[in-house]
């Protein structure tokens, strides 16, 4: 599946970096006092349920927490790193047809971010990197335990709006698509965020 879609992914990358090149024009005359920003957000997310086993037991609505540190010079593009806590989905196995058990799937990404402003308060991010996938399992018979693994080639695409309250603080919202390649998990989150400039 991934192999079949790799041209699509490469096309996204190509378009994104092409736009980034166009964005290299500096904003002359504007010298920023605060070139770093910390974004913190939380919001609901929806898991694109592609499970084959226990598909009907998936609870697709969960939540995401995100944190992003950005270097934002006078250019339209900025760079940074992003992490977060994406609760992708929860499955509740129920008796009597299935053994009672509960599984929660979580992704903790660690990604590099390239961001570009394309209107005054709007921006788009592309993030690529790795994610730690954590499964929390609990069952009356087998107890509770966690398993974790790394997904090495994950990416996210974000469209956001940021409204400055003052020269230090902004608020906004982001639509974040996240894809983890290891298990082919994807979700879409609506994150309400606060940004601090420093």
């Amino acid at each position: 599946m991934i192999m079949k879609n790799y041209k699509f992914y490469l096309a996204i990358l190509f378009c994104f970096f092409s736009l980034n090149l166009l964005a290299q024009k500096d904003n002359r005359g504007q010298v920023k006092k605060h070139r770093f920003s910390l974004y913190v957000g939380v919001g609901p997310n929806y898991y694109f349920n592609n499970l084959v086993i226990a598909k009907n037991y998936v609870q697709p609505w969960n939540y995401s927490l995100t944190a992003r540190l950005m270097w934002e010079p006078e250019h339209f593009i900025s760079l940074g790193i992003e992490s977060g806590y994406y609760q992708l989905y929860t499955v509740k196995y129920t008796a009597p047809s299935l053994w009672p058990a509960r599984v929660t799937k979580i992704a903790v990404p660690v990604q590099l971010v390239v961001s570009m402003k394309f209107l005054k308060n709007y921006y788009a991010d592309l993030s690529i990197g790795q994610s730690n996938l954590v499964d929390k399992f609990s069952s009356p018979d087998m107890g509770s335990f966690e398993t974790s693994s790394w997904s090495l080639a994950d990416f996210g695409i974000t469209l956001g709006y940021k409204y400055p309250i003052n020269n230090r603080v902004s608020v906004g919202a982001e639509s974040k698509f996240f894809h983890s390649t290891k298990n082919k998990d994807s979700n879409l989150a609506l994150v309400f965020m606060v940004a601090f400039n420093f």
């Binding site: 599946m1 991934i2 192999m3 790799y6 992914y9 490469l10 990358l13 592609n50 499970l51 084959v52 086993i53 226990a54 037991y57 998936v58 989905y89 499955v91 196995y93 299935l98 053994w99 058990a101 599984v103 799937k105 590099l112 690529i128 990197g129 790795q130 996938l133 499964d135 399992f137 069952s139 018979d141 087998m142 335990f145 398993t147 693994s149 090495l152 080639a153 994950d154 990416f155 390649t181 290891k182 298990n183 082919k184």
Partner: protein, 408 residues
């Protein structure tokens, strides 16, 4: 970022491509023929007319319920069901052909008329004049004729020197296999692909049930996507049985289930259990292996179950359960290690070379030597001609079968 993108574009699942089902009406209303009779077809055949797309020379081997041909071209094999047409005395064959190393496959229908050897085969077992005709669907779906003729029987050397050919946790498991690796389907059908042995991997579940799985963890490489992850040993077998499906829809197989079908549904002789070393694995494996020998004896089946000691950790587990030492074992580590642990088999990795002196020494001590895992056609030929091994593991047994029976 570059590394991430490289991984993105290089990931691909190893999908199962199931064999084609041949709806041939010629097989309908045919009568059963025992595999004892059909075994007389075993031998070398040559193309005498029609398309050579499937090859020009074939090794014919009969399994419990199929007739299989292994070609001299591209590892192509043909697997056929058969039956006797009571109206004209012909033997009808229907099945599929396929390449070993890619997914190209098609349907094939053959017929052995009474006058071209069918009658002799059924009555007296004489097959010198046997000629089989039919047609097969080519790569562009066009029907192509084929006519092959019995050329010679297997040599006495090939008949008397049994060469062990193991399916590497199933056949073609490196890409697009017909069955998921380590599955019951594989255990039932692998003999149709020319092997006389199965190599399956063994792990343990939380409730101490030995299961057949290569990796310690649940992996999308061989399972359908579900919510479970982590190691098999974290879950009870019944939960895995209800909550995990292999990539072709089958359930996870226990070793007991595999041994049962190995004995009851095949004529295979050898079972190679590749033990991966979970705690106390030999304690839980021993009753299953001994039970399998008892079950085989009841149905007059001669089987050999070889337990593979794959690492120092596994050997440590093996030593902690001394009663297992009376069962056949194999060491993969070294010949000295095999001698030290009184193993009946030694399994050197193929990349170590032909090891002629060591193999001679092993044979002098009554130890058989099995090389793993040979998949390259040229290497298989080289190791058969110049080596002294007693058997191979391969993902592509069609190469081994063709070469062994035509070279010797």
């Amino acid at each position: 970022m570059a590394i991430s993108m490289t991984v993105v574009i290089s990931c691909e699942k190893n999908n199962v491509v199931v064999p084609l089902v041949n709806p041939d009406v010629n097989l309908m209303n045919t009568l059963f023929i025992s595999d004892t009779v059909m075994h007389k077809m075993d031998g070398i055949y040559e193309l005498v007319d029609g398309s050579g797309d499937l090859g020009t020379e074939f090794v014919c081997k009969v399994s419990k319920s199929k007739v299989s041909f292994f070609s001299n071209s591209g590892g192509i094999y043909v697997i056929l069901q058969y039956g006797l047409n009571p109206n004209d005395g012909s033997i009808q064959f229907a099945g599929f052909w396929r390449y070993s190393e890619n997914t190209a496959q098609g349907l094939i229908n053959l017929s052995l008329t009474a006058g071209e050897g069918g009658s002799d085969l059924l009555k007296s077992g004489i097959i010198r004049l046997l000629t089989i005709s039919g047609n097969f669907s080519g790569s562009n779906n066009s029907q192509q004729p084929i006519r092959i003729k019995f050329k010679r029987a297997f040599s006495q050397y090939a008949i008397n020197h049994e060469f062990m050919i193991f399916a590497h946790h199933g056949v073609q498991t490196t890409a697009n296999p017909p069955y998921t690796e380590n599955s019951l389907n594989g255990a039932i059908h692998d003999q149709d692909y020319g092997v006389n042995g199965l190599e399956y991997d063994v792990h343990l579940t939380r409730d101490h049930i030995p299961i057949c799985a290569h990796d310690a963890s649940i992996d999308l490489r061989v399972t359908e996507k579900g919510p479970l992850s982590g190691e098999y040993i974290q879950y009870d077998f019944a939960f895995l049985d209800s909550s995990v499906r292999l990539s072709d829809g089958e359930k996870i197989s226990s070793v007991e289930q595999v041994l049962n079908v190995f004995i009851d549904s095949t004529t295979l002789k050898y079972m190679w259990l590749d033990v991966k070393g979970d705690p106390d694995i030999f304690k839980y494996l021993e009753p299953l292996v001994r039970g399998a020998y008892e079950q085989a004896a009841k149905v007059n089946r001669k089987i050999v179950i070889i337990t593979d000691l794959t690492s120092d950790e596994v050997i440590s587990e093996y030593q902690s359960w001394p009663s297992y030492s009376s069962l056949p074992t194999m060491s993969e580590l070294s010949l000295d290690n095999a001698i030290l642990h009184n193993c009946k088999y030694w399994g050197p990795r193929y990349s170590l070379g032909l090891l002629l002196d060591e193999v001679d020494k092993a044979h002098s001590l009554g130890i058989k030597v099995l090389s793993w895992t040979l998949n390259d056609k040229n290497l298989i030929s080289d190791y058969l001609i110049n080596g002294k091994f007693d058997g191979f593991i391969s993902d592509y047994p069609a190469y081994v079968v063709y070469d062994f029976y035509t070279l010797f």
